[in-house]
Amino acid sequence: MIAEIGAFTAMLALALSLAQGLLGLTGARNEPRAGAAAALAQSSAWIAAISFACLIALFVRSDFTVAAVAANSHVDKPLLYKIAGAWGNHEGSMLLWSFVSAVFGAVLASTRGAQTQSLWARGVGVQGLVTAGALIYTLFLSNPFARLDPAPMQGSGLNPLLQDPALAAHPPLLYLGYVGLSVPFSLAIAALIEGKADQAWAKALRPWTLAAWTFLTLGIGLGSYWAYYELGWGGWWFWDPVENASFMPWLVAGALVHSAIVTERRGSIASWTILLAIMGFGLALLGTFLVRSGVLTSVHAFAVDPRRGIAVLVLLAVALGIGFTLYALRAPKLAQPAGFAAVSRESMLVWNNFGLAIAAGVVLIGTLYPLLVEALGGGLISVGPPFFNMTVAPLLGALFLILPFGPMLSWRVGDIAASAKKLAPAALLALATMIITLVLSQWRAIPAIGLALGVWLIAGGLVYVWTRVQRGEGRMLRKLALLPLAVWSMSAAHIGAGVLTLGAVAETAFRREQAALLNPGESVDFVGRRVTLLEVGEAEGPNYSSTRANFRIERDGAVQRMSAERRFYPTSPMPTTEVGILSSIDGDLYVALGDAARGESAWTVRLYYNPLVHLIFIGAIMMALGGALSLLALARRKRSGA
């Protein structure tokens, strides 16, 4: 019964969003029609919520008469993972996609702001069609409510690698980001139909791009953290096609966050902002296609069904086809105010877009190239980390080199000499970092440049906060309290990028690893630590059994303990590793338990030392925090009516 309610409400939501689309698009000059579209957007969101709630209920009740539940759940699973199971699979995740799209449509409909009625109505309309497209795909090609006959007694369980709190939150966050990019797309299409993209339009665009970027940052950061502690090889990023699939929309969303500021403040580069909004959503759809079609051989591609891949590709072609056609027809006619001075805040923001958009383009071609070569009969090739590190890293490095100047320069015409003078201490600090790293690492240039760039971003961000503080009046605390939220948010994000850079460079360049064969009681010396295997025992979890090894770590007289596990899930043939991580200020000691030696009591133990690795995740959190604070600043500005 619940499944039928779920399917029925999803169908109803589809009808409502189609009506929302038609009324919104035709309601540009018709107030009642636009109002009806907005009301439909609200109701479609509520109805989609009921549908999604039904799916969660089915997973919680372990109703194995439903195919998606039987294929992805198990009665023994802890409640959190039963709930997360609702979106931990293809069908459920597509319903989540549609649901989020409907909710965003409702929010868009209820926040008209200073937009003209026609622009707003058209935006709501396009968003309705986006929701409808997602629902058509969900209901007809991956129906999460499809029944199974005969129903099995037991479900086959969620992939044990995914039974993890970080991975329970990872897909919803990514989807909030992906779908968040559908709203800028809708607004961009509305602006193209309208033939007008003014400052009020850019103002309406900004919170959506910020929210999408923030969610993507959190989602990617969480996924990367999960890979670090769950996959058992100490890595956090491998330029895997599925990682790239989320990284490209993130880069474009980052560019859009900045270009929308220029369009809002100065009215310029509006057509570029529109193009970015279209490409951002295109890449979000492409990401869904790459993950869901199974065209990529990658650890992430669990769902292999070409029919679905083709359908996503059709949706992508429709969205991009309409988007680019409209763009080609209308963009040249958009009113574009004057350009910009070579040295100004807006020129710096344009260079930001230059760097981020090119990086996204390079990641795109690198990710798709093996598929192209194979399709053209050129055989199998791999495009992996060496390519991306050689191309994307220098681009981002160049971007980071100029980044601290951005906030220091004023709009219209900036004073480069004055900014350089203020930034001199940061530059000196970066130079010192570079020289010290060069000496200590025996003249390895790349890590030295990388660490210097990280320090440059952090110190440059602090210099900016300091120059803003100095302009205030009164005592220090009062000055700090009076700083606008926008200063804090921007600085948190930029300094976060620096912190992330430090961690990424240090971890990549200076990590150590060693494998050892240890009997209980034996020790091995590793990066200034003595690691002793104490004992290995068996333990039982809620739906798995595990082999657990306890270790003693001695370092400079201090003694600490840690443990590493291998878990065996009866529903899965492969054991999973639960690594032991001992964090200290200089980095992580990371221990993975391998196999037992045959006929012996010895165990293989892999040890990793990951210097400053926590800075990667702290940096990502700071960037996301910057995005969130920026949203708060926009909300406050709106309330104060500025």
Binding site: G235, W272, A341, I381, S382, G384, L395, W411, R471, R637
Partner: protein, 131 residues
């Protein structure tokens, strides 16, 4: 058998005596794809074949091969697929040229945008921008 191979590779890694050579071996092992696993370099894979391939890299380095000779050695045995760094040839020059092409295209776009008219109005202070 597979267990033995893992142990041989993991417990007694024929680490090269010279740290510079060992560093070369590791960076090559990060670039060579494990042919049995999904998208993993041999440096990180625990599979039997990856262990053999790691030993092979060290042997070639000890024998005095250059990095590109070692890449070619693996390419001949396992095909282009085994290299995460795609070779530069008739199929891949577009890939390798693309970044530079994008940069040129970007520069052209930025300069045409700029030439649409230079701003000569008096400067705003940064605070005006933040309001």
């Amino acid at each position: 058998m597979s267990l033995l191979a893992i142990l041989v590779a993991a417990a007694a890694p024929a680490v090269l005596g010279d740290p510079a050579q060992e560093a070369r071996a590791h960076s090559l092992q990060m670039e060579i794809r494990c042919v049995q696993c999904e998208n993993e370099p041999i440096a990180q894979s625990t599979s039997e074949i990856a262990a053999d391939m790691r030993t092979l890299v060290r042997e070639r380095i000890a024998a005095g091969d250059s990095d590109s000779e070692i890449r070619d050695f693996f390419r001949e045995r396992y095909g282009d697929f085994v290299l995460f760094r795609p070779p530069f040839d008739a199929r891949t020059w577009v890939l390798w040229a693309a970044p530079a092409l994008f940069v040129l295209l970007g520069l052209w776009a930025v300069f045409t945008m700029r030439r649409r008219g230079a701003a000569d109005a008096p400067a705003f202070t940064p605070e005006e921008g933040d309001r």
